[in-house]
Symmetry: C2
Subunit: 98 residues, 2 copies
């Protein structure tokens, strides 16, 4: 996952509540008139990303559907005091206007 936040129409999902990201999705689709928006998340935030995608398309953006979902694994540097790198799961959910 790129650390750049300049990638257009990509929303990095973290520890905020799902509705924060729903707002971001709506803003991307309506404000900048994007045709598709990708949510990227890893670890525990995967659940939040799925929630945000589902809330956005079921409740707010009826003309948007899930275009593509991919999962992957990223290697993270070891935590302090631990010797080994950790693997963490990632997800990318692309929503597209139909």
């Amino acid at each position: 996952m790129s650390k750049s936040s300049r990638e257009p129409n990509v929303i990095y999902v973290g520890r905020k509540p799902p509705m924060d990201y729903v707002l971001g999705i709506i803003t991307s689709f309506t404000g900048s008139n994007a045709n598709q928006v990708t949510l990227k998340a890893r670890g525990q935030a995967i659940n939040t990303a799925v929630d945000a995608a589902e809330i956005a398309r079921n409740r707010f953006l009826k003309d948007v559907s899930v275009h593509k979902i991919t999962i992957g694994t990223e290697e993270m540097p070891p935590r302090e005091g631990e010797g080994r790198a950790r693997n963490i799961s990632t997800i990318e959910i692309t929503l597209k206007r139909t």
Copy 2:
């Protein structure tokens, strides 16, 4: 999500550690010689399902890849003392032998 646990090659992911489900995936692919296995999870277990799928295919089953991922929403009965039904996100990850 069906409540039947008799559906062949479907693994319901819950609150156990990911490795428990990885073992289930391996058993399905090798023991019953299945061609594909579907993981189903909801809520917080979505993260565990992605972890299990990733660990299984990266570490143990090199000839297995992600065939399909779908997300959805399920209505759950309200918690005790709450009046409203809750919506919960779901995921289905199908792994297939390549």
